[in-house]
Amino acid sequence: MSGRLKFAACFAIYFLAGTGISYAQQQVIGAPPEALNMKLVGTSDLQARSAYQPTIHHQGERWIAYIGHHGGSDEIPAPVNPQTGKAEPNGTSMVDVTDPSQPKYLRHLPGQEGKYERGGAQMVRICDGKALPKGDRNAVYMLRTFGGEAHEIWNVADPANPVLITRIAGLKDTHKSWWECDTGIAFLVSGAPDWRTRRMTQVYDLADPAHPQKIRDFGLPGQEPGSTGAVPTELHGPISTGPSGNRVYFGYGTNKGGILQIVDRDKLLNGPKEPTADNLRLPEIARLPMSAFNGAHTTFPMPGMPIAEFARDKDGKTRDIVMIVDEAILNECNEPRQMVWFADVTIENRPMMISSYTVPEASGTFCERGGRFGAHSSNESMAPVFYKKMAFIAFFNAGVRALDIRDPYHPREVGYFIPAITAATDKRCVRIDGKDRCKVAIQTNNVETDERGYIYIVDRANTGLHILELTGPARSVAGLP
């Protein structure tokens, strides 16, 4: 064979192999899910509604999954609810997952009309009435957003027949709030009309959900009404450690210019409330500004983590860690990689990034699969089964990733699950030469866990809910039998 012929043959083999790999990674209907040390237990199609956030609640003898939805799509603004036969704007799904292998869809509670982020009821938190200081002991309260215009509280003691309790309206946006069930204090991600940012915090006392008491508005100096100059990046969401931890960790930015803000909860609640720059600065302990390339979508605190490597050190054996998850926004890798960061905040006024994690793109040629590739969110349950041992990260077209975080200085992936697509999975498009080019891929949006050790992932591209469990070595990391 001549040199030229050899070269041509090698080129052809390389080209064909490359094409084959590319096709092999494109998801097709009917193909099995891709998994390592995680397996599927049960599914619900969630009426093919785009899902944002699942919250799992142990309610009497039952386990109920509450799933918040985005608004509908251009093609299907209000999917038909098979239970009512009516077209309903996306809202909240309530699913009985007591037997996770046979989830029972109980009720769809419609949300605000509107498509994508404009409508629906993305966020959901649950508190038992008996846990709240002034709640009805027989009630179970669901706090949810109503599109961008309101927060609502429903009594979901009977999740198939929710009853509206109250509504906080007149907002220009909402997002992922936090509600302390033992105190009733809620950090509501709102858009107060007079603030200079789309999303900021409204602190409420929801100890008696029927009578919400506003405590104060909060945000970064420069966002408050009447200020001028540069406007700091908008809030994504807070997580509080309650009165005992006395800290609230706020994440600002989604995929750009992220900020982790560490706030003294007591000063936030009891300090001067007028929204002046000085009053907004007062409860702040420290900030960790991130690269302009990355946002702070979820800021998940894990105080007092024992670090095995430091066990024989005289000081610093335990560390206060905050896991920061960015959100990928653009399809097909048209932005810097959004991933997971671990910050050591033990020395609070000098928080420091110590490690990071991302899915290796080449492991699934994820930039070519379609849709978003990158991190979005982590589980937020602090139940002992996984807390400070394992974290689960929703990674859009790379499904959910299970991390061993016992040494947060060296987080390690120990499992993953990428659901199969179905006929309901919606397309995701990019602009090529002025025209849309679309692909269909899983878009795992959010993940949550329950106290039993089940993992719940929901899909932004309408593929529904997948309930998973760990297997093999990943199971032993969590100490599960």
């Binding site: 001028t228 750009k256 653009l330």
Partner: protein, 182 residues
């Protein structure tokens, strides 16, 4: 005769020529002048979005410069640039100075057939001097195009000059290509 190297060289040359032609088609030339505008360097350090294009106008009165760039991936996909707060936050005024104050409520505007808002500001520069500025933010679905013009002249003149420049064929062509990711 060995034809193989000739074919390779020809392919490379052809590719380079067509690439250069495509670039000339989408990007205004460095030395191009349109109503007194000339392209200058993008002076700002790297931030969350790639650098855009910068131009100075010597004939617009008052040393006017304009900075234009797309910001792909805008959270407010459905409402677009809904209010003046949005312009304050996204229009790159902070690249000029952290200290700026609006002079008046903004107005709706269209640039390259995209809707949005335009607003006038007073900028306090780091040396204490003051400049007038115009912030523009328009959107298409989940993507933004932002422009900020500043100068020593009066606001109406600067606003007119900036909008006229953005409406030229060359700039409209570049904006359209940039918003399409080309």
């Amino acid at each position: 005769m060995r034809r193989w190297p000739v074919i390779v060289v020809a392919a490379v040359v052809l590719g380079a020529l067509s690439g250069a032609a495509a670039y000339q088609h989408v990007a205004p030339r460095q030395d191009e002048r349109e109503g007194g505008w000339r392209e200058i360097a993008w002076l700002f350090p790297r931030d969350g979005w790639p650098a855009g294009k910068a131009f100075r106008c010597d004939a617009c009165g008052g040393d006017v410069a304009i900075y234009v760039r797309p910001k792909m991936g805008f959270c407010n996909c459905d409402r677009g640039v809904a209010d003046d707060d949005e312009v304050d936050g996204v229009a790159d005024l902070d690249l000029m100075s952290e200290h700026f104050a609006p002079l008046a409520p903004g107005e709706v505007v269209r640039v390259a057939d995209m809707p949005g808002r335009i607003r006038a500001y007073d900028l306090k520069m780091s040396d204490g001097s003051r400049r007038a500025a115009i912030g523009i933010a328009v959107s298409r679905r989940c993507d933004l195009l932002v422009a900020v013009a500043h100068g020593k002249g009066d606001v109406p003149n600067m606003r007119g000059a900036a909008l006229e420049f953005l409406a030229t064929n060359e700039m409209t062509g570049w904006i359209t290509a940039a918003m399409d990711g080309r």
